[in-house]
């Protein structure tokens, strides 16, 4: 197999989305494809390649409906005025979409079907919200039989389709406490604030000039949902968001966000030839299906598969990026895989930085690669749970790249 490296990574800041009050979303007046279109030429430039050298483009989103429909991945190419020779595809693996994009791009290069592949992710949760609203407006239409027909009863689709309920159910299968969740949530914010203050994210965020609801223009270069004032005590006071006696709150769940993410993959050889210093080398990928009513368990088997393929143990991994769709997902994974919490989401996780569904995978992989560079680790693993009952994972290795 040809070795594949992450040669470039760039994202927008992640705004905080509010479908009921988009005027407070810094990106409220922009579409996700407009964010992505600004990003793509910049990631190409930043990586140090020519646009015409990109052979394939894989773009992911969890809600490829309405204005996030991409004509098979082509409209972002058109909107960025990139060469027509870049083929494209759209990929939906829900919250794993852009990690799946990386996985496919990796396979294309590893098998020598392509040499340079660009991956994109986008999601705008104010403009194309998930859940009931989209179903109500006919954007999505799950088959009613899944809810009605006794032969599908065992899927418990009403729970499986509601992420909050799956998190509640996962919680009941662990010995975690509400306090642990809140603590992790508060820590996620504190870590993100610290990373932000130290300027860690500056290098991965492309500032975007965005029209605001009041007509002014704002240069958006910070993740909007990160809170300096987040504490475990404060979070303890929040009401359960999904069930009356539940533990999942707005504080220990990821917020709604809008963002676009991008990444360039290429063969290690090409990077060498071009004198490009990669961020990391991809070593392994993993994907797994689990009970959809506890979709948050997905990262565990997915990571195990990726570890097995790479012939590594969980303890060989220096840093982890586990998507904090909910704190319970990260904590469950830490416990099941026996991880050191101090090596997980060290720059803050989805609860603070945000989780723009389909765009998240690239953010996890990109941030992880940058952590390995900054902290000097060797192996890193990024994973995410996926609505519908799946997990995806990616293992990368930071090498010396002495050229």
């Amino acid at each position: 197999m040809t070795e594949v490296v992450i040669a470039g990574y760039l994202r927008t800041a992640q705004s905080r989305s509010r479908p009921n009050d988009p005027s407070r979303d810094w990106f409220g007046k922009m579409r996700a494809d407009e964010l992505l279109a600004q990003l793509l030429p910049e990631v190409i430039k930043k990586t140090g390649i020519k646009p015409e050298e990109v052979e394939d483009f894989i773009v992911g989103s969890a809600m490829g409906v309405g204005e996030q429909w991409t004509y098979g991945g082509r409209t972002p190419i058109f909107m960025a005025n990139l060469p027509e020779t870049i083929s494209a595809k759209f990929i939906d693996q829900q919250c794993g979409s852009s990690l799946a994009g990386i996985q496919i791009g990796y396979m294309e290069i590893a098998q020598n079907f392509a040499d340079i592949v660009m991956i994109g992710g986008m999601e705008h949760m104010s403009r194309i919200p998930m859940g009931g609203i989209t179903a109500d407006r006919g954007f999505i239409a799950p088959n009613i039989s899944l809810f009605m027909d006794p032969k599908y009863k065992h899927w418990e689709i009403a729970t499986a389709i509601n992420m909050g309920l799956t998190a509640e159910k996962l919680f009941t299968q662990t010995d975690l406490t509400r306090e642990a969740l809140d603590q992790w949530g508060a820590q996620s914010h504190q870590r993100a604030v610290k990373a932000g203050t130290e300027g860690f994210f500056d290098e991965e965020i492309l500032p975007i000039n965005a029209k605001q609801a009041d007509g002014t223009t704002m240069t958006v270069k910070q993740d909007q949902a990160v809170r300096e004032d987040a504490t475990a005590e404060g979070m303890a006071g929040l009401k359960p968001a999904y069930t009356k006696k539940g533990v999942i709150t707005a504080g220990n769940s990821s917020p709604l966000n809008a963002a676009a993410t991008s990444m360039i993959l290429m063969s290690k050889e090409t990077a060498k030839k071009k004198g490009i210093k990669p961020l990391a080398t991809i070593r392994s990928i993993g994907f797994a299906g689990v009970d959809p009513t506890i979709m948050g368990a997905g990262p565990v088997p997915a990571s195990k598969k990726a570890l097995a393929s790479a012939r590594l143990q969980a303890s060989d991994i220096d840093y982890w990026e586990i998507n904090e769709a909910f704190c319970v997902v990260a904590l469950n994974c830490i416990k099941e895989l026996g991880l050191d919490p101090e090596r997980v989401n060290i720059m803050g996780g989805g609860v603070a930085i945000g989780h723009p569904l389909g765009a998240t995978g690239i953010r996890l992989a990109g941030t992880l690669a940058r952590i390995l560079n900054k902290k000097g680790g060797r192996y890193g693993c990024a994973n995410a749970c996926v609505g519908g009952g799946q997990g995806v994972a990616l293992i990368i290795e930071k090498e010396a790249y002495n050229w």
Partner: protein, 709 residues
């Protein structure tokens, strides 16, 4: 709750309140109607027994719009804005109210009707309904949320198209665009509405999510909006010159469509008020009302029109085939008479051709045409076959003798109550009728070319035309969807003579050294579809010349053919049909014809005339003063006396710009005193053509206007 409303029938069923709106004749919104609606909603919202409300209408109307007569009388924005606000508050109270409201759209749902439907939480349209925001056609913009709610429901591109064109869409299109949630057969409408209510009750639908003000996902991004608005501005600037509302619509969308719909409504209200108080809206509303009332003359009030079932058409040429198109579409059994079989064959081909466009555009099926021709159309070369018809329309050669011979023969063949209508555009009808034993049955039905498309029908009463003949003709005009304007016999009747005098000033100015391009441009900018030169080339300079000669003979010295007209006629360049007239048509675009321009130049040199600079406004003043003066002469001469009809005739018959309201509306706005002063000035300079009519003089002195209100 209270149930005895004048305009709403209230019923209760299983926790549902069904409001059936009933404000005859078309459920038009009026102050009282809205007040009752507001009260009914308020009570239903308060009642514990009522869980949801179904809103529907009687007959074929949901709501056909707002009462524009009320709007027409508004003078200031200040008096209007509080009313708009109150209305918006009423609509907002439904939209954000405590209970689901389901609009069961049973038919016409226009303007304020659609705006009301759009604050409901679920919309079902019966097949056959039509939905639209036609305000722009009356010089207005939607003033009750239409500009802000429609884009949220169907997206900005479709919404802008609907609002700026004013065109309604049918139920199926409304469904495919997302304006309604369901389309059902009319008899299933209430069942469907009840089922929809059930979905709100069992939680399948969340009415808070469905409040239009909460729907954001079809709002364009800032960049998308900029791009679409810029494009629409360019298109509108080209298409809607002289109008106001299309630009106000764009402004409402540009400044509005934010995340707070209720704040944006204020922007819309203000722009709506701008339109309401504009002259343009007043002109267009006036025109709309007058169009509806056209043909309702006091002299035929109360008369019962005779039933027309069978119609004969004499002559199947350009006009005849177009008229038969109308007769077939209106369902008349039609007999076409021509002089021989060859002419008949040609005519039938010409009739088919008049349907080519709707068939190509898929507005009509070929089979429908075939069935009409097979079942409704008979052809003959024998006048004896016209024995059974109820009305005969004649469009044969423009020759008095030929026409009179035919009518004379027909008088011996047809029943005595059959109406004889001539489509002559130039011959005196009183003279034509004089050979009949009963001249009272003869009338002029002057169609305009192309007859199947032009909306105007100029009805000309000859001296002895009876009221019954007129009443039946007016009713007939409505059945073939024409706007009937009634005038009396005289050279050129009204429309041709008035159009002639609107353009007649051109040759006077040319003779005085004004550049022909300036005159053309001035009239185009004024809003006429064509300038005088292009129009003359289209109708034929020779035809105009002969008409002018006839006028000179019959109407006297004011109509004396201008010496320059004489010279231009002598060039033999008669316009398009000869390849050149004022313009040369041999190239891709018409350019000034050097022969005619040379004649004009030579005339100027021979008479010591120097090139004369004139502003567009000066040209317009001159041209319009002449036209208004001639209108006054026509009123004096008894050709016509109803300014509203005269104005409609020019708008529908010649493309006079609707936003200017018509020649006489324009005159009133300009001021008869000012016109009189101009005419005196012009007469001194240009002679008798511009001699003010006594009527103008008297009106100026008495400070009167053509219109009474």
């Amino acid at each position: 709750m209270k149930t005895d409303y004048q305009t709403i029938k209230v019923q209760f069923r299983d926790g549902l309140a069904i409001f059936t709106m009933n404000n005859p004749p078309v459920n038009q919104l009026s102050e009282n109607f809205v007040r009752e609606l507001a009260q009914a909603f308020e009570e239903a919202f308060r009642s514990d027994e009522i869980k949801a409300i179904i809103l529907t209408g009687t007959g074929n109307n949901f709501i056909a719009g707002a009462d524009i007569i009320q709007i027409k009388d508004v003078k200031t924005k200040a008096e209007l804005l509080p009313k708009i606000k109150e209305n918006n508050l009423f609509l907002n109270s439904i939209e954000t109210g405590p209970k689901p409201v389901i609009a069961a759209i049973n038919g016409t749902c226009l303007g304020g009707g659609l705006e009301l439907a759009m604050v409901c939480h679920y919309r079902i349209a019966a097949i056959g309904s039509n939905l639209g925001l036609p305000e722009v056609q009356l010089g207005l913009i939607p003033g009750a949320g239409g500009t802000q709610r429609l884009p949220r429901l169907i997206g900005l591109p479709n919404a802008l198209e609907m609002i700026t064109s004013g065109k309604a869409i049918n139920a199926k299109t409304a469904f495919s665009r997302g304006l309604v949630d369901e389309v059902v057969k009319p008899e299933k409408l209430l069942d469907a509405a009840t089922r929809a209510a059930g979905k709100f009750f069992n939680g399948q639908l969340d009415f808070k999510l469905r409040m239009t003000c909460n729907i954001q996902n079809r709002l364009p991004s800032a960049t998308e909006k900029d791009n679409l608005i810029n494009f629409t501005k360019v298109m509108t600037a080209a298409k809607a010159k002289g109008y106001l509302a299309p630009f106000k619509i764009i402004e409402a969308v540009e400044k509005g469509l934010g995340f707070d719909l209720h704040a944006d409504l204020q922007i819309e209200s203000d722009l709506f008020a701008d339109c309401v108080i504009s002259d343009i809206a007043k002109n267009l509303i006036g025109m709309f009302l007058n169009t509806r009332a056209a043909g309702r003359l006091p002299r035929i009030k109360g008369l019962k029109p005779a039933k027309i079932k069978k119609v004969a058409m004499l002559g199947g040429g350009v006009m005849g085939s177009g008229i038969i198109n109308l007769l077939l579409k209106a369902g008349y059994t039609t007999t076409l008479w021509e002089i021989n079989d060859e002419a008949l064959e040609k005519s039938v081909a010409a009739i088919r051709k008049t349907f080519a466009y709707p068939i190509k555009k898929k507005k009509m099926k070929q089979a429908a045409l075939e069935s009409m021709i097979e079942n409704q159309l008979k052809t003959t070369t024998s006048l004896d076959d016209l024995k059974e018809v109820d009305l005969i329309i004649e469009a044969v050669l423009e020759n008095m003798k030929i026409k009179q011979d035919i009518w004379k023969k027909l008088e011996g063949i047809c029943r005595s109550d059959v109406i004889f209508a001539t489509n002559t555009s130039a011959l005196p009808i009183t003279e034509m009728a004089s050979i009949l034993a009963d001249p009272g049955r003869m009338i002029g039905l002057h169609f305009f070319n192309p007859a199947e498309r032009m909306q105007l029908l100029e009805i000309i009463c000859a001296e002895k035309t009876t009221d019954q003949t007129l009443a039946t003709s007016v009713a007939f005009a409505r059945t073939i969807k024409k706007i009937p304007i009634i005038v009396n016999d005289g050279p050129g009747f009204y429309v041709s003579r008035q159009l002639g005098s609107l353009m007649a000033g051109a040759v006077v100015l040319l003779a005085d050294g004004v550049d022909s391009a300036v005159i053309e441009k001035a009239m185009l900018d004024f809003g006429m579809p064509m300038g005088p030169g292009i129009l003359a080339d289209l109708t034929g300079i020779d035809i105009n010349y002969h008409v002018n000669k006839t006028f000179e003979k019959k109407l006297g010295e004011r109509y004396k053919v201008h010496p320059l007209t004489e010279l231009i006629y002598q060039t033999g360049c008669y316009g398009r049909k000869t390849g050149s007239g004022y313009f040369d048509y041999s190239g891709a675009k018409p350019v000034p014809n050097s022969i005619v321009m040379g004649v004009i130049k030579k005339y100027q040199q021979d008479n010591g005339i120097k090139e004369k600079k004139m502003s567009k406004q000066e040209v317009i003043d001159f041209m319009l003063a002449n036209a208004i003066n001639d209108a006054a002469y026509m009123i004096e001469g008894g050709i016509c006396d109803r300014p509203q009809d005269m104005d409609l005739a020019m708008i529908y018959g010649t493309g006079f710009p609707p936003y200017r309201g018509g020649i006489l509306r324009y005159a009133d706005k300009w001021g008869i005193k000012n016109i009189y002063a101009k005419l005196i000035e012009f007469e001194k300079k240009y002679g008798v053509l511009l001699k003010p009519a006594d009527l103008i003089k008297n009106m100026a002195e008495a400070e009167k206007t053509f219109y009474q209100n």
